[in-house]
């Protein structure tokens, strides 16, 4: 130990730790010393009570078989002493070094592994020093019952951010701001940016990590815009890539993002006006994640914090992550976005799944004034997913709440008549949606629970307009499929349509067809019924925001009879997103019959149109070509997605049109290849300018070709130019 500390005023971090120790019953301060070397700026020796199972056999010297004692001294070694400093917990020198989840520092001694990532974040996210001390105690007790390695209940270090760059109290922010040189050329590491409103004057600051420096005076320091309200109403979080090293880099990202997704507004004066509080500050803090949740290197995100209260008096100011928009009322959002639901065609949203996607979409639309919502989810909320779900901070008990309950609670704050149909959500939601009479409801299915989807969606007797949305590829993309009127086109059609579209769209293909070997799906939720994927929460936010925007438009303007396909894909510029939205018309459905050999055949609208078009062009002559699409053997369903025609001309004679398959073979094979074999050759089509059903030639062709399909069904479509109908025959070789 170094010199006794009695005569020295405790630094802030030590003082905070001592306050926590004094208020906890299971530990007490037994010694304290000031720096003795560079590695120990200050040391507190804290004795922890370690609870053993009541009948534990202790050795003669009162230790468990692994050498844990009922009272364990732990040295809290403060390497640094500012307010952000977290001590290193060091166990006694003779502590059993062979235990798992323990590292032995050659200079300090045995150190329990409390977290993955910086222990500094434990202070921020695990309840300050109280949680930090409790965690040390829990580690000791887990060790005492030999439970550090146990398949069911073993110790798991808490995953946290790397906290070197985190700012968690207004006092320290201001302290850093005051120390930051007035310059904008950064030499050092970017921490964040702060804007402080003082009356009408907005001053922006750059927050730097200790030791950073700036070289020039900063004209940009008067920049008034830092945060924005994005269209679905949530405060945008911007992905910051690791190359952001200066204020300009950050501002470029913000501008880019705002230009794409948001309206640039001077938020702070609005916030002040709403809250009537004297001062507010928004700090954008770059957080580096401990683990790369995706396989990419982009592991830094920027999260806006709001510091409210009197910032001249750090003791009373509060800092909180702005995602909850506690300071942003519905009125404010409406004024900024000019959003109104008066006269909206669809005023109710039913969410099947209130997780990372459904929760965000529900919350976003609610902030924009969505009048009514039903939410169903099978799962309970887990607080470590706070940001991802955007649920309100229902302190203490939120971890045991159903997600749908939390979402409904949150949305009610914004005036949405939100109802949670929790539990498995099945019965209650079914009651609300069944019958098909209520078309004034948008049903958004975001659930990853096949069980719930099976119950609700496959039945096909739901009222309202059904939509399906999901993230893809670790949050690189997302889709929104909104079915057409009377469930036509259906989601299956829209999936097939997307596949077909992706054949000619490299970017879309990269998410629609790609099977990334790194992709991991994780079973979560009750009974592990749901699947999800690791992804960056900022990507999730941006994608959910896009889905909200599209839904908002469809609900307000009316979804029409067509289906809608919307894909959001990560842009080439980091932090940007590209959305493509398409309408898809009605699918021509050929029900299962003898003529289709029991197959259901779905001919997508573009194919129907193209067939009619070639028929018209052919005039009195027949037109013909090949068919490409999907074959789903499990459900015995064929979806025709594309016509392939001869490059010279698909037009034949009045009575005959030969489909020159050898000539088309290369085109078809290329399509198959480009679709990663998702699409395949299905058969042929031709027109009957004079009307009429299949000719004997057609039937013999059908049989002949079916024999060559290697067991796959052969489809023949005939466009009756007189009646406008499409006739369908499917032949499957009996052998």
């Amino acid at each position: 130990m170094g010199e006794p500390a009695q005569d020295k005023a405790r630094p802030p971090s030590v003082e905070l730790a001592c306050e926590a120790i004094a208020s906890l019953d299971f530990c007490r301060l037994i010694d304290e010393s000031k720096a003795d070397d560079k590695k120990r700026a200050w040391t507190l020796v804290v004795e922890f009570d370690v609870e053993f199972p009541s009948r534990t056999e202790l050795s003669a010297n009162g230790e468990t078989k692994d050498g844990i004692r009922p009272k364990e001294p732990v040295h809290l070694v403060f390497v640094d002493t500012d307010e952000l400093s977290v001590p290193i917990p060091v166990l006694r020198e003779d502590f059993n070094p062979n235990l798992p989840h323990l590292t032995v520092d050659p200079d300090l001694g045995p150190i329990p592994c409390l977290s993955m990532g910086s222990s500094k974040d434990l202070l921020v996210y695990r309840g300050g020093y109280f949680g930090f001390l409790a965690l040390i105690g829990m580690w000791l007790e887990t060790a005492a019952r030999s439970g550090l390695v146990d398949a069911d209940e073993g110790w798991e270090p808490i995953p946290v951010f790397e906290g070197d760059r985190i700012v968690f109290s207004s006092g320290s922010i201001i302290d850093r701001l005051e120390r930051a040189p007035k310059s904008d050329r950064v030499r050092g590491r970017f921490v964040g940016k702060a804007v402080i409103s003082e009356g009408k004057r907005l001053t922006s600051y750059l927050v730097l990590e200790e030791g950073s420096s700036l070289e020039e005076s900063a004209p940009s320091q008067t920049a008034p815009v830092v945060a924005t309200i994005s269209t679905p109403g949530s405060v945008s979080c911007w992905r910051a890539v690791s190359k952001i090293q200066s204020l300009q880099d950050l501002e470029r990202v913000i501008e880019r993002e705002c230009g794409k997704q948001a309206k640039i507004r001077p938020l702070f004066s609005e916030v002040k006006e709403q809250s009537g509080k004297p001062n507010h500050m928004v700090v954008l803090v770059a957080l580096r994640r401990p683990h790369k949740l995706s396989q990419f290197d982009l592991d830094v995100e920027v999260v806006p914090f709001v510091v409210s209260g009197d910032i001249d008096n750090p003791g009373t100011a509060r800092a909180s992550i702005m995602r909850q928009t506690e300071q942003v009322s519905r009125d404010l959002v409406e004024r900024l976005s000019r959003s109104t639901w008066v006269g909206a065609q669809i005023q109710r949203l039913a969410l099947i799944g209130a997780g990372s996607l459904g929760g965000k979409v529900g919350a976003g639309l609610s902030r924009l004034g969505l009048p009514a919502m039903l939410a169903a989810d099978v799962d309970v909320f887990n607080p470590h997913n706070g940001i991802r779900h955007e649920f309100p901070p229902v302190m203490g008990e939120s971890e045991l709440f159903l997600k749908s309950d939390l979402l409904a609670m949150f949305c009610r704050q914004f005036g949405t008549q939100a109802q949670s149909v929790s539990g498995d959500g099945g019965d209650a939601l079914e009651e609300n949606l069944k019958g098909g009479s209520d078309t004034k409801i948008m049903i958004l299915d975001t659930t990853a629970s096949p069980h719930l989807r099976e119950r609700l969606v496959r039945k096909g007797d739901l009222g309202g307009r059904y939509a399906n949305a999901a993230y893809h590829h670790h949050g690189d993309a997302a889709h929104l499929y909104v079915e057409g009127g009377s469930r036509n086109p259906r989601v299956d059609d829209l999936i097939a349509w997307s596949m077909d579209r992706a054949v000619d769209d490299e970017k879309l293909a990269s998410v629609v067809f790609s099977r990334d070997p790194m992709m991991e799906e994780i079973a979560v939720g009750m009974g592990c019924q749901s699947m999800t994927m690791p992804m960056d929460d900022l990507d999730a936010s941006a994608l959910a925001s896009g889905i909200s925007r599209n839904l908002e438009r469809l609900m307000k303007e009316g979804a029409g009879e067509d289906g809608t396909v919307a894909w959001g894909i990560k842009g080439d510029v980091p932090g940007s997103w590209e959305w493509q939205v398409h309408s898809v018309g009605t699918t021509d459905i050929k029900e299962r019959s003898d003529e289709t050999s029991g197959w259901e055949v779905r001919i997508l609208d573009p194919c129907c149109r193209e067939m009619a078009m070639w028929g018209d062009r052919g005039g009195e002559n027949e037109a013909c070509g090949a068919l490409v699409g999907r074959v789903d053997r499990l459900s015995k369903r064929i979806t025709v997605t594309r016509l392939v025609v001869h490059p010279d001309s698909p037009i034949g004679s009045r009575t005959r049109c030969n489909v020159d398959l050898p000539a088309l073979r290369d085109d078809v094979r290329q399509l198959q290849r480009r679709s990663r074999e998702a699409l395949t050759f299905l058969g042929t089509w031709h027109s009957h300018p004079q009307g009429g059903r299949e000719s004997p030639t057609d039937l013999s062709t059908l049989k002949r070709f079916a024999e060559r399909m290697g067991g796959s069904p052969f489809v023949m479509l005939i466009s009756n130019q007189v009646s406008g109908e499409i006739l369908c025959r499917v032949e499957t070789p009996t052998g």
């Binding site: 019953d25 996210y125 887990n382 539990g423």
Partner: protein
């Protein structure tokens, strides 16, 4: 997998929750037994017991909170307070509660009730005096379920209608009023039964000690004596964390049973070396650490006059002394003060501290401190119970942290 028992700080009153569980709150692998409740405090205790209790409860597939079993040891208000407000009564089909989860009624899959305990409690009341409204609501619900059994209704075995009756319901003439309900009657000293279990061997087994039957020719006299002595359901609960648990954790719960009851229990079960029904890892000190559970005298008389009132019944004390190695004794009461108050009685505490070490005597009103009492939670381990204090501290700390909801992780 966790097996745990929680004692809530309800001042002078009892409320114990036994749980075996796995997974999240709406995981079907969660089961719970509630023994007594006191959900509306009589002031003073600085703990939101309703919140603490409700957040521990499992919820079913329809989002309804429930307990698998609710055992009412006896119908005193400090053991049933808040029942009407917080629990669903009537057929489960009538459950229509669209409140937020925090306010939804809790339904009871199976009730454990004792008509004879009610009968004896009634006998102690003044003419015209009735049970508290919560006890009346309990009684009405129990009678509804009994009726289904008597009518052999097809729904009698359904969740929400299930029932166990503890002890024979003998009137003053010794006639068992519930002779036709043998199938659902649990007799003191009878075989142990499994109250709940999960697939991996985690289970709670119950051995019944009370209510005591009155005996033989002196039935009426003995019945009067038992009535005076705060008749209660008394059980030894055996908790198995999993199939690897060779020696279960034993809880002894005795409601408000007074000295005579414990004497009789010692007489009946004291020499049973095999069954050891009085043995415990945790004893809930009867009647909130009352002197009257150990002595025929009153504690105030003992303090003032000494003599007989200070005399402890050897048999009663023996019955309550069957502590296993490292056992705890809990007083579910206000803090135990060094005065002539009773319950809790400092005299009783001193006797209990002789049985277990002083650090093993805990008072719900004093843990972790008098100012901010919190539920005392014990986890079941293969070699006994362990107090789960630090997890609670961490949870409490996180719940007040501004960043509590801010952590992100890789799934969801």
């Amino acid at each position: 997998m966790t097996a745990k028992v929680t004692y809530f700080p309800v001042a002078n009153g009892d409320m114990t929750l036994i749980q075996i569980e796995e997974g999240t709150r709406n995981d079907p692998m969660r089961k719970s037994i509630l023994v007594d409740c006191k959900l509306d405090m009589d002031g003073g205790a600085n703990c939101d017991v309703v919140h603490e209790f409700r957040t521990r409860l499992p919820i079913d597939e329809k989002g309804r909170p429930f307990v698998d079993v609710f055992c009412l040891t006896h119908p005193d208000q400090d053991h049933i307070l808040g029942f009407k407000k917080h629990f669903h009564t009537g057929p489960i089909a009538d459950y229509k509660d669209e409140n937020a989860l925090a306010d939804r009624k809790i339904y009871i899959k199976e009730m454990w009730s004792s008509p004879i305990v009610f009968r004896r409690a009634k006998r102690q009341k003044e003419e015209g005096e009735s049970f508290c409204p919560d006890a009346q609501a309990w009684q009405k619900e129990a009678k509804r379920r009994v009726k289904l059994w008597r009518q052999n209704n097809a729904g009698k075995d359904e969740v929400g209608n299930q029932l166990k009756l503890f002890g024979k319901d003998c009137d003053n003439n010794g006639e068992n009023k519930n002779a036709d309900l043998e199938d659902i009657t649990v007799l003191s000293g009878g075989d142990a039964f499994c109250a709940m279990e999960l697939g991996n061997g985690s289970q709670v087994e119950i051995k019944t000690l009370g209510p005591l039957d009155h005996g033989g020719v002196d039935g009426d006299e003995e019945e009067a004596s038992l009535a005076k002595n705060r008749s209660s359901i008394i059980v030894q609960a055996l908790l198995y964390k999993d199939s690897g648990q060779a020696d279960p954790v034993k809880l002894l719960l005795g409601g408000d049973a007074a000295v005579t009851v414990w004497e009789k229990l010692w007489e009946t079960f004291g020499d049973d070396a095999d069954d050891r029904r009085l043995e415990y890892d945790i004893l809930l000190a009867p009647h909130h650490c009352s002197w009257r559970s150990l002595s025929h005298g009153s504690w105030s008389d003992c303090e003032e006059k000494g003599g007989e009132s200070c005399k402890v019944s050897e048999d009663a004390e023996s019955a309550l002394s069957q502590a296993r190695k490292g056992a705890y004794i809990l007083s579910s009461s206000w803090p135990v003060k060094g005065d002539d108050g009773d319950p809790p009685s400092i005299g009783a505490k001193r006797r209990y501290v002789k049985i277990v070490k002083s650090d093993r005597f805990l008072c719900t009103g004093e843990t972790p401190n008098e100012k901010n009492p919190r539920p005392i939670e014990f986890l079941v381990e293969h070699d006994g119970v362990v107090k789960n204090t630090k997890a609670a501290s961490a949870a409490a700390a996180v719940s007040v942290s501004e960043g509590a909801m801010s952590e992100t992780a890789g799934h969801g």
